[in-house]
């Protein structure tokens, strides 16, 4: 990947952002907004909102996130193996894959992957 592709990514991103920003900004100039209390309150099926919406979230999301981060490293290590499997030793990758499946099996047996 050279300069051309790096600049290409920036140009694509800039074009997308300009189009997006224009679509968000131009209506703001043209249309006058009338704020009412009902319009500005968060949607809760037509009721008045109860309590805060910034609730605490369950620890289970954290467990999924940690599992993802760990196994994504394994997936990232598999990328060079997939490109050059005929040139390199397979053992480290097989050990990583085996331990990943073992850990998923352990998680599943312990019931951590069950959604409560």
């Amino acid at each position: 990947m050279g300069l051309e592709q790096g600049l290409g990514i920036i140009v694509f991103f800039a074009l997308g952002a300009i189009v997006g920003y224009a679509a968000e900004f131009i209506p703001r100039l043209l249309i006058k907004s009338k704020k009412t209390a009902e319009k500005m309150m968060p949607f809760e099926s037509g009721e008045d909102p109860v309590g805060t919406s910034r609730v605490r979230f369950r620890i289970q999301y954290y467990i999924f996130a940690v599992a993802f981060v760990t196994f994504d490293v394994v997936a990232a290590i598999a990328i060079p193996w997939a490109v050059g499997w005929n040139l390199i030793v397979w053992t480290p990758l097989l050990v990583l894959f085996g331990s990943m499946l073992l850990v998923i099996g352990y998680y599943a047996a312990k019931g951590e992957l069950e959604w409560l």
Binding site: E4, L15, M40, F68, A78
Partner: protein, 355 residues
């Protein structure tokens, strides 16, 4: 020679000489392709889906309801823009723009520019216009593809409503559960061609059997993981309209909703195009029809299959979905990835694959 200063050849020469101009031209071409693609996609989504369910879909505006999409877009843009009181203003405003921009960057890696430039044989030489032919193009595509969960989580948090927050958390759990099978199943195509360049993967396929046949298990796994990544109906828990109103984008209205919607269809188009390039041979097809038509038509056909799946299957529950991801897709994609070198050797020996 000064007389034809504004002729096509000189414009082409100017554009191919200047790097930035050339990149902007490529980006505009990609934007036109993806806009036409999204319009066709939304029309298919509404009309084909409706016909499967014995409804009519849009009929009133234009012939067969074909102008309905433009009417919707005008309506979205002409609505007032406001930010709910409890929303986190900066993040709330920036998420739709970033969603469109990051989904659009995925198209850098997809060889639509080659397909477009090969329509102009002599004056517009393909190699001067093509930027998608670089080495880890698949990684770039999936890198920007994987930005979405962060944006969805931010958008859900910033919306300031309970529905958006639950939608955002669900989306994060869902997308990170399906990221690993997605990566491992496209890696088995990479292991077959030993290249991370979509361009080369298509060129290998043009000389051998399409990978849909050689890599059928990987195709099935990739399709399921891609459905989950695109948040389409068997897995659309983030938007589950019967539970969460509209999921993480409940609080977005007017032109912001238009942007969220647009980014979803750009992602769907890019995802279908990646499936096309990896498994269905990209622009390769019988000769008189140009490559652009082939890659575009294949992408639309893949998207139609996604709509068909959407119409045919009910939404899964979140525990079923996570079970499918962790206990079925991850182990089977690992097993198939380790088996792929043997498949590759077998295919090379039997002349099914030419490297």
């Amino acid at each position: 020679m000064t007389g034809d200063f504004l002729s096509l050849a000189s414009v082409v020469g100017l554009v191919s000489g200047n790097l930035i101009l050339r990149l902007i031209a490529v980006a505009i071409v990609a934007f036109i392709v993806v806009s036409i693609g999204s319009l066709i996609e939304i029309y298919i989504e509404r009309k084909f889906w409706a016909r499967i369910m014995s409804r009519y879909g849009p009929t009133e505006v234009g012939r067969y309801g074909s102008l309905q999409l433009f009417a919707d877009a005008i309506k979205f843009i002409s609505k007032e823009v406001f930010t709910p009181e409890l929303a986190d203003r900066t993040i709330y405003d920036i998420v739709p723009v970033l969603a469109v921009a990051t989904s659009f960057v995925v198209l850098v890696a997809i060889p639509f520019d080659y397909a477009v430039s090969s329509l102009f044989p002599s004056s517009f030489h393909p190699s001067s216009f093509v930027i998608s032919n670089f080495d880890p193009s698949l990684l770039v595509a999936f890198g920007f593809f994987a930005m979405e969960p962060v944006l969805v989580l931010f958008g859900g948090w910033a919306g300031g409503s309970k529905y958006t927050l639950i939608g955002g958390f669900r989306s994060a759990a869902q997308l990170i559960s399906y990221e690993i099978p997605l990566v491992l199943s496209f890696l088995s195509v990479v292991a077959l061609t030993r290249s991370l360049n979509l361009f080369q993967i298509i060129e290998v396929q043009s000389a051998s059997w399409p990978f849909l046949i050689l890599e059928l298990p990987a195709f099935v796994l990739f399709l399921i993981a891609m459905l989950a990544e695109l948040e389409r109906t068997p897995f659309d828990l983030t938007e589950a309209d019967s539970e969460l109103v509209a999921g993480w984008n409940t609080e977005y209205g007017g032109s912001k909703f238009l942007l969220v919607y647009l980014s979803e269809y750009i992602r769907a188009f890019a995802g279908s195009a990646i499936i096309t390039c990896l498994f269905l041979g990209g622009w390769v097809g019988p000769a008189p029809i140009p490559g652009l038509v082939w890659i575009f038509a294949k992408t639309i056909v893949v998207f139609t299959v996604l709509v068909w799946i959407r119409a045919a299957y009910p939404r899964v529950r979140i525990d079923q979905m996570l079970n499918l991801g962790w206990k079925v897709l991850v182990p089977s994609s690992v097993v198939w990835l380790v088996l792929t070198p043997y498949v590759a050797n077998f295919a090379v020996v039997h002349h099914l694959l030419t490297l």
